[in-house]
């Protein structure tokens, strides 16, 4: 009797389990969910930023030099960790007209920083030109910056109260094309890089860099807006006649530029 009860229990449980399996059967293969898209999601706004110098005009964007920087880095002795530095004096002005290449007796940048325009969604209209004063190199070691680096970079020492924009002391960039970066939200920038360095005359190289736009936003104080541009690229110092085993030939340069509409 007991065995019969266990058999009956087994049969009932098997029937219930079997019913559960049959009723849960969809007669369809389970469709796997679609694979996660690996495509980069690119989103661009329609910001247009144009330069100007009129204080208080919020439609005009001013280059904020105090909060911008031109940084460089290169492996120390070609093998070590990066040696880094920056340039204290630079500007967003087009010096391709050679008449501007001279010494200016002034403490501030002598030329207006207006050689640029940025169109977030129309990169073909975006352009900029700029320069750095080579003798304003700053690695945080005054003896080196005002000493051996001046010789290595084939320029002359800083004259206080003078902005040296002569041909031997400036490295310039000027865009030739700006296009969307297909791999992300950035832009591919092709530009001319002009520098004399250790050569007898300046040469111009076409260099490709990556431009990143940090969209316009109201600053935390809420009184004005700010936007940023970051340009990263690489040069080969040997191409410009700079001979030094202190650093590697390849030098990474990152320009962080901030603009505001104060």
């Amino acid at each position: 009797m007991k065995r019969f009860n266990n058999k009956l229990l087994m049969i009932i449980l098997l029937i219930i389990s079997g019913y559960g399996i049959i009723s849960s059967c969809t007669h369809k293969d389970q469709v796997l969910p679609a694979a996660v898209s690996t495509a980069v999601k690119i989103t661009r706004g329609n910001h247009i930023h144009l330069p100007g110098l009129t204080a208080g005009d919020t439609t005009q964007w001013k280059f904020d030099k105090v909060h911008s920087a031109v940084n460089w880095s290169t492996p120390f002795l070609e093998v070590g960790a990066d040696l880094t530095g920056k340039f204290n004096q630079f500007g967003v002005a087009d010096l391709s007209n050679n008449t501007k290449l001279q010494n200016y007796v002034t403490a501030a940048q002598p030329l207006p920083d207006t050689s640029w325009a940025f169109y977030e969604n129309q990169p073909d209209k975006t352009h900029f030109a700029g320069y750095v004063q080579i003798n304003q190199v700053n690695t945080g070691e005054p003896a080196r910056d005002g000493g051996c680096l001046i010789t290595t970079l084939a320029t002359t020492k800083i004259v206080p109260g003078t902005q040296n924009l002569t041909v031997t002391n400036v490295a310039q960039i000027k865009t030739t094309s700006v296009t969307f970066d297909p791999a992300g939200n950035d832009y591919i920038v092709v530009f001319n890089f002009t520098w004399q360095g250790g050569l007898a005359a300046p040469i111009t190289e076409s260099i490709t860099g990556k431009l990143t736009y940090v969209p316009e936003a109201v600053v935390p104080a809420g009184t004005y807006s700010d936007f940023g541009l970051t340009l990263a690229f690489q040069i080969n110092k040997a191409d410009f006649g700079i001979v030094s085993t202190e650093t590697a030939d390849k030098i990474d340069i990152v320009i962080n530029a901030n603009f505001n509409n104060k």
């Binding site: 065995r3 229990l9 087994m10 098997l14 219930i16 559960g20 009723s23 849960s24």
Partner: protein, 171 residues
């Protein structure tokens, strides 16, 4: 306390550990009842049943402790446990290690029916809610059968060899 998805996950945990037991129990009795050889391997299935059931209780307790880690405060236990009565009922399975409960195998069957009922409820519910939940339940139920079979077979093997070695030592 009953928080939708978390509650459902805890229900699946309970099904995974205990709902396969009734069928394993019934099959074990039928197999053991059919064997004519005393002290054969299958004859150890029946005494192994309450032990295997209590072992499932221990494993379930281990899972709950792992889920609660590292905060074993009462507040965390309260917020984590969605079906407190069912969980306490499940943990009572550990008591089948005690001889007083172990001697009555039917108690393990009655105890486990509470969890088999969870499947039965979902089977009835499918008429109004569709069979997606039953699909899930049946997958977990299959694992439960496997888990119950494994624990029973492991314990039966241990009992069998223990008995065998004891017998050999006597002779």
């Amino acid at each position: 306390m009953n928080d939708g998805f978390l509650a459902y996950l805890q229900q699946l945990e309970l099904i995974a550990f205990f709902s396969g037991y009734p069928l394993v129990y019934a099959i074990s009795y039928v197999i053991a009842g059919n064997t004519k050889i005393k002290k054969s391997f299958v004859s150890f299935l029946i005494p192994g049943l309450p032990f295997s059931y209590a072992l499932l209780g221990i494993l379930y307790l281990g899972l709950q402790l792992k889920n609660l880690y590292p905060d074993y405060s009462l507040a965390n236990i309260k917020s984590h446990i969605q079906y407190p009565y069912l969980v306490i009922w499940a943990l009572l399975a550990i008591l089948f290690f005690l001889p007083v409960f172990r001697k009555k195998n039917q108690l393990t069957l009655i105890h486990s029916f509470a969890f088999f009922a969870l499947i039965l409820i979902d089977l009835f519910k499918q008429f109004s809610t569709g069979n997606v939940i039953v699909q899930n339940d049946m997958k977990v139920y299959s694992f439960s059968l496997l888990l119950n079979c494994c624990t029973l077979l492991v314990l039966t093997t241990i009992f069998f060899f223990y008995n065998f070695s004891k017998k050999k030592a006597k002779s």
